[in-house]
């Protein structure tokens, strides 16, 4: 097997995550999909690291995880406070972008 399959897998997961972001309304699930996309990226980084024979890819994946953690913390906090005020975690309820 060629390790490039990992990249195909990563692309597939990324796409699934992206579609998930678009079709789900629940902010929490939406967030999970984002996490899925990030993880797919990480997988690609790791595979690239193996391909190029250096560790920079892994380092970036590591940073991605840190950022993802931070993002989840803030994002979930936003969801919680949003839920408090609106009693809903649906992103469609917050359609204030339209005048």
């Amino acid at each position: 097997m060629n390790p490039v399959n990992y990249l195909y897998l990563a692309a597939l997961l990324f796409t699934i995550g992206g579609v998930g972001v678009l079709i789900r309304k629940n902010a929490i699930v939406l967030f999970m999909c984002v996490e899925l996309m990030l993880n797919a990226c990480n997988l690609a980084f790791v595979a690239f690291s193996r391909m190029h024979g250096n560790l920079d890819g892994q380092i970036i994946a590591f940073f991605t995880m840190v950022v993802a953690a931070a993002e989840v913390v803030v994002g979930l906090a936003i969801i919680v406070s949003l839920f408090r005020t609106r009693h809903s975690a649906s992103v469609d309820d917050a359609s204030l972008m339209k005048l």
Binding site: V21, L22, I23, V91, D92, A94, S95, L96, M97
Partner: protein, 631 residues
């Protein structure tokens, strides 16, 4: 000596500035300042005249160049004056009659709270009129030309709280402006033809251009003259202009400003001499106006309007004479001067009558005034005799000369023109006798005024009668003075040129014919107005009378065609501007707005929907990148 020329203009101009900017504190002395400065101008004029008499005929033209007014590449207009015999004649007439009318106005306008301003306007007029006749180029003449138009506008509308006065003023200015188009175009033509518009070079080189150009210039100058001198077809404003105070009518609308057209034509003699077609049109205009004014004058019951018709008619004589060419120029000016005397006198007399009759202007409500206003009666009477051409008085000489010259034109033209002038003389005699009879003779037909009070006619104060007396003297003696030894002819000939015409009939025959016509005119008038009592309310009258009362329907024509037509045109243009021109603009805006409204629906406010767009955009970008690399 020539340095004094500018002072001629400057003195009354100073007066105008001081009086108009001086404010209320000058109310007490304003009229004295105005009169004094007009008199100063007259004094300078006399001094220059004396100086001029002391020179030989060739040496009499004085020039003074103050500075270059408009210096542009290829276009040079100087603020320069030229004083020759022709200008001198006008200077004396304007400043002389002007001063007299200033004096008269002191009394006439005594009770008007805006007398200071009146004198300011009068001074402004004198300054502008002097500028007009002293200019050494057509553009500066245009300056003066419009200046007198402004003064005329201000003075006709002096009692502007009366809507009729304000309208008359506006009308006068507008009709004059139509004439000004002619003057503008004439100047432009001169500029393109000669590269200059100063009198001396233009008039000296008329021989080098085609007759067609000269005819065009001449016709344009005639248009200007028609506007200013109230000639057909631009005559309609003069009757209405009588809304102004009577001294104004005397000075501006009888003696001086309205004769500016004659000045313009005589001044441009060289151009007209080179354009016989234009000359013919000039004589025709003069002849038509002569009859037109005379007929209108016969029907008017308003004393000032009757006199206005007479003015129109007399200026018709002058224009006709000017159109005759070198045989007529001198007589045109001579009639202009004598007319200045007697018509100013007549107007001042009319003013005096109105002054005594509570500002009543309808002659049918006068009658028998000779006992109550002896001085007015005498001076008015002398003016009357002068205008109808009573032998020995001014009008006799000057008018007779024109009639002779008209016959001397020769050919059928000569006969027609001569006949018209003769007929005009007869009608003049008729309408002037009518005025005289209605005003001073017959029984009293006085009517109570608005306050229910019958007027108490009385002689006017000295300040008013004195100018009348002086003008009456002028009316009596000026003609004879000019004619003896052909003084006037010799005086003007170097400027205008002269050519003795050969009338088909002898001068004596013409004079005799004139006398006959004169007597017939008087006789008809006496039959109609002297022999039997005159009704206070005007009878319906014949068709001609009714037409003449309405200025031969000229105003109605103007109203229907120009005013109504103009109103419709303006209204439709305003509509067009709003709905079509602006409509296109607003329509564009509205359609863009509509399109935006449609596009706005894509913005549904759902973040996910936007995310799809972003995702789709990413797809497109990636595809584009791959495609680019593949290619």
């Amino acid at each position: 000596m020539e340095n004094l020329i500018a002072l001629l203009v400057a003195a009354p101009l100073l007066g105008a500035v001081v009086l108009l900017c001086g404010g209320r504190r000058l109310d007490k002395v304003g009229h004295w300042i105005g009169t004094l400065l007009a008199a100063v101008s007259f004094g300078i004029g006399v001094a220059l005249f004396a100086d001029m008499l002391g020179r030989t005929a060739e040496d009499r033209t004085l020039t003074q160049n103050l500075y270059t007014w408009i210096p542009v590449e290829g276009f040079q207009a100087d603020m320069a004056f030229q004083l020759d015999q022709l200008s001198m004649t006008f200077v004396l007439l304007i400043s002389g009659v002007g001063t007299l009318i200033h004096v008269y106005s002191i009394g006439y306008m005594e009770h008007d709270e805006r007398r200071r301003r009146f004198f300011g306007y009068l001074n402004l007029f004198v300054a502008a009129m002097l500028l007009l006749v002293l200019a050494d180029n057509y553009l500066l003449l245009y300056f003066g030309w419009e200046g007198v138009g402004l003064a005329s506008y201000l003075l006709i509308g002096f009692w502007q709280h009366k809507p009729s006065a304000a309208t008359a003023a506006k009308k006068a200015f507008l009709v004059n402006r139509v004439g000004d188009i002619g003057l503008s175009i004439a100047i432009m033509l001169m500029f393109t033809t000669f590269g200059t518009f100063a009198f001396e070079p233009v008039l000296a080189s008329v021989g080098e251009t085609s007759e067609g150009t000269l005819t065009a210039i001449g016709l344009m100058l005639l248009l200007a003259a028609c506007g200013k001198s109230a000639q057909v077809p631009l005559q309609s404003w003069l009757g209405d202009a009588m809304e102004g105070p009577t001294p104004v009518s005397a000075l501006i609308h009888a003696a001086t400003m309205v004769t500016a057209g004659v000045y313009l034509i005589v001044r441009s003699a060289a151009i007209f001499n080179g354009a016989p077609d234009a000359q013919l049109v000039v004589t025709v205009v003069g002849a038509v106006t002569l009859l037109f004014g005379a007929i209108v004058g016969c029907a008017k019951d308003d004393i000032k309007k009757a006199l206005a018709g007479s003015t129109m008619s007399q200026i018709g004589y002058m224009i006709l004479a000017a159109g005759l060419g070198p045989i007529g120029y001198v007589f045109a000016i001579m009639h202009l001067v004598t007319h200045g005397f007697f018509k100013a006198g007549l107007f001042l007399g009319a003013g005096s009558v109105m002054h005594g009759m509570n500002d009543e202007v309808d002659m049918r409500k006068y009658g028998g005034l000779r006992k109550y206003m002896p001085v007015t009666y005498a001076t008015f009477g002398l003016g009357y005799l002068a205008i109808i051409g009573f032998p020995g008085l001014s009008g006799f000489f000057s008018k007779d000369m024109i009639i002779e010259a008209a016959f001397a034109k020769g050919g059928t033209e000569g006969w027609i023109l001569g006949g018209v002038t003769l007929l005009g003389a007869g009608i003049t005699a008729f309408y002037m006798t009518r005025v005289m009879l209605l005003t001073f003779f017959g029984e009293k037909r006085w009517q109570p005024d608005a306050g229910g009070e019958l007027p108490h006619p009385h002689e006017s104060p000295k300040s008013m009668t004195l100018p009348m007396v002086i003008l009456a003297l002028g009316s009596v003696f000026a003609g004879a003075f000019f004619e003896i030894g052909e003084r006037f002819l010799k005086w003007l000939e170097p400027v205008t040129g002269y050519e003795h015409g050969n009338p088909p009939v002898s001068a004596m025959t013409v004079t005799a014919a004139t006398m006959v016509v004169l007597v017939i005119g008087i006789a008809i008038a006496w039959t109609m107005y002297g022999r039997k009592p005159v009704p206070v309310v005007a009878p319906r009258g014949s068709l001609l009378t009714r037409a003449a009362r309405k200025d031969l329907y000229q105003d109605d024509f103007n109203h229907v065609v120009l005013v109504r037509g103009g109103e419709h045109l303006t209204r439709s243009l305003v509509y067009l501007d709003h709905s079509v021109v602006d409509g296109v603009v607003n329509g564009t805006a509205a359609s863009v707005g509509g399109l935006s409204g449609r596009l706005r629906k894509l913005q549904n406010g759902y973040a996910r929907s936007y995310a799809v767009s972003m995702f789709g955009g990413t797809v497109v970008l990636i595809a584009a990148t791959l495609l680019m690399r593949a290619v």
